[in-house]
Subunit: 340 residues, 2 copies
Amino acid sequence: MKRPTIADVARRAGVSKGAVSYALNGQPGVSEATRQRILAIATEIGFSPSSAARALSGATARAIGLILARPARTLGIEPFFMELISGVEAELSARSYALTLQVVADQNAEIAVYRRWWGERRVDGVLICDLRTDDGRVPVLEELGLPAVVIGGPTGTGGLPSVWSDDAAALVETVEYLYALGHRRIARVGGLPELQHTAIRTQAFTEVCRRLGLAEAVTASSDYTGEEGARATRRLLSSRVRPTAMIYDNDVMAIAGLSVAQEMGLAVPADLSIVAWDDSPLCRLVHPPLTALSRDIPAYGAHAARQLMQLIEGSPTGGLEDEAPQLTPRGSTGPAPGNR
Amino acid sequence: MKRPTIADVARRAGVSKGAVSYALNGQPGVSEATRQRILAIATEIGFSPSSAARALSGATARAIGLILARPARTLGIEPFFMELISGVEAELSARSYALTLQVVADQNAEIAVYRRWWGERRVDGVLICDLRTDDGRVPVLEELGLPAVVIGGPTGTGGLPSVWSDDAAALVETVEYLYALGHRRIARVGGLPELQHTAIRTQAFTEVCRRLGLAEAVTASSDYTGEEGARATRRLLSSRVRPTAMIYDNDVMAIAGLSVAQEMGLAVPADLSIVAWDDSPLCRLVHPPLTALSRDIPAYGAHAARQLMQLIEGSPTGGLEDEAPQLTPRGSTGPAPGNR
DNA sequence: CTGAAAGCGCTTACAG
DNA sequence: CTGAAAGCGCTTACAG
C-alpha cells in the first residue's frame, strides 16, 4: 500500500500542493469551501503529512525528548517516572506531539544524546529531570539553544525555566506535625545526595530541627532502593538512642523501613512513626497504610510539558511553581512513645 | 549557534556532499584516507545528519514506536513497563534508534496513532504489548504493512512475529509445586480477562487443576490494582471452604492479598500460601517475602527490539520463544495447613 | 574514486 | 484567493 502524499490530495481536489498545505495547517489563502473539500479528501484517503518533510521545510519536528539517567532497577520500582510520563503525554497528544524517550547510563551519555538530538533536529525541546547541584546539563543546553524545561529547581537551573514544588515547605510541615505528636528524635533517609531536591530537603530538615531544638536530626543517604532503605533503617534503629519517627525520600524505602521495624519487633506507629515522600498506591497496600507526602505527579508532568510547548512556540516563560506536596496522614504516624 | 550541515563538512573537507554522505554511512565510493579526514571534520564541528532529511530521502526514520494503552494509575505501579522499556532502549541505543512512546486511553486511540505514524512515516516499526484475544491491532498493522513485533502470544498474532514466554508451563509448575506441598484448594486472581496471556494462564490453570483432581479451581478477574486484588482476596477468603493457596497475576495484587490475609488474621504461609507473577523488588520488601514467578523483563524487551530491528532491515524473522518464568520460592509459600 | 544532479514531501514567500 | 517555484538537508543513481 503506497502512502498518500500531499500531491495525491492536491490532484484529487484539483488544487495545488500549496493550497492543500494551507488548508491543512489552518492558514489563510484558501476559501472555506475549498478547505473543507480538501480536508474531506485528506481524511478519505488517510493522508497524514510526512513528519520528516515537515521538519525539513523549517517547521518543527513535533517531538520533544525526555532522558532518564537512572539504573534500570531503580527506574522500574518508582512509580514516579511512569506517572510523570503519562502526564507529559496527556499534554503532548492533545497537540499530536510525540515523546522521544531515552534511558542512559549516566549524565555524560545524557549530554551526548542532547548534542546528537540537536544536530539531528530530532526534537524541538527537552524536559530534564533529576536536577543536580551544579548540573552539567544546564550550560550545555543553554549553549546549544535547545529549548528545555527543568523538572525541579527552582535554583540551579541557570537561565532555563523550571516547574518545581516547594519541597522545603512540605518537609517543614512534616517535621512540625511529628513534633506536635511529641516526637523529639526524628531521622530521615534521604535520596541520592547529589540531587538538588535531596539537598533542598536535607537543608530544610536540618534547619527546622535546629529551630525546634531537636538535636538528633540525622539524614542517611541512599539510592532509593528497598535494600538501602532497609539497611539505613536497621542502622538508625540500632543506635543508642533510636529515633521515634522516620521520614523517607521515597515510598519504596518507607515500605522497606516498615518491614525492618516489624522485623525488629517495633510496632508502627506505637514505637515508630513513618512518613513516605511521594504517595503512591503502594503506600495504601501495606499495614498500617503509610502517611505520605502526596502530589499530583501526572499534573506536574503535564505542566512541565505545557511550559515546554510555550517555549518552543516562542512565548517567553518564567517557569511555574506547582503545588507543594500535601501531608496525608494515615496509619503509620501517631503520638511518640511515652506521649500518649 | 547555527547547526552545521553536510555542506559545511563538505566545504571544509574540500569534497562534495555526496562524498561526505558516503563516508558517514560507511558506503564505498571514497578512499579510506578521505573517509577518515571527513569523519574527523564532522566530529570536530559537531555534525549529526538531520534525521528529517535522512528520513525524507528514503532512508529510515531511525525510530520505533511503543504505545501503552492502560490507565495511568495501573501503568505507574507495575514495574513491568519501565523494565521492558529499559531493555528495549538498551537494544535501540546501540544503533542510535530512538523510541517514540505514547500513552493512550484505549485500543481505538492506539490504532489511530498507528495509522497516523504510518502516514507521517514517523517510525519504522512498532512493538505491541498487552495482546488481546482477537486483537484489533493485528489486522490493521498487517494491512498497513507497518513492521511490528508482538510482545506476547504466540497465538493470535496473525502474521506478525512475536516474542513470548511459556506462561502455561510456568503456571503448571506452580500448581504442581503447591500440590506437592499438600494444597488442594488453590485459587487464582487473574488479570484483565480480555488479555491473551490472562486467557492462556486461566486455561492452563483450569486444565492442571482438573488433571490433579482439584475441584475448587476458581479464577477471579481483576484490573491489576491493589484495590481489586484486595477485594478479590477478601471474597475468596470469606468463602465457605477457603483456599489454602493463592496465585496472583501481578506483584501488586499479591502484596495487597498478603495484607488482606494478615488483616483477616491468617498467617502466611502457615494458613495461606501466596505466589506472585512477575517478580520485582517489591516482592522482597514485604514480610514474608513473596514466592514469585521471575523472568528477566529487560531481556524480554531487548529481544523484542532486536526482532523488530531485523524485520525493519528486511530479514525475515519467525519470532522468538523467550525463557519461561522461573518459580522462585521465598517465604510466602509453605505446606498446606494440616499437612505439616 | 569523485562530482553534479535529481529527488524525497513538505512549507512558504512571491507572482498573478 | 490560487498557482508555480524555491528550498529545507540529506541519499543515491549516474556520469566522468
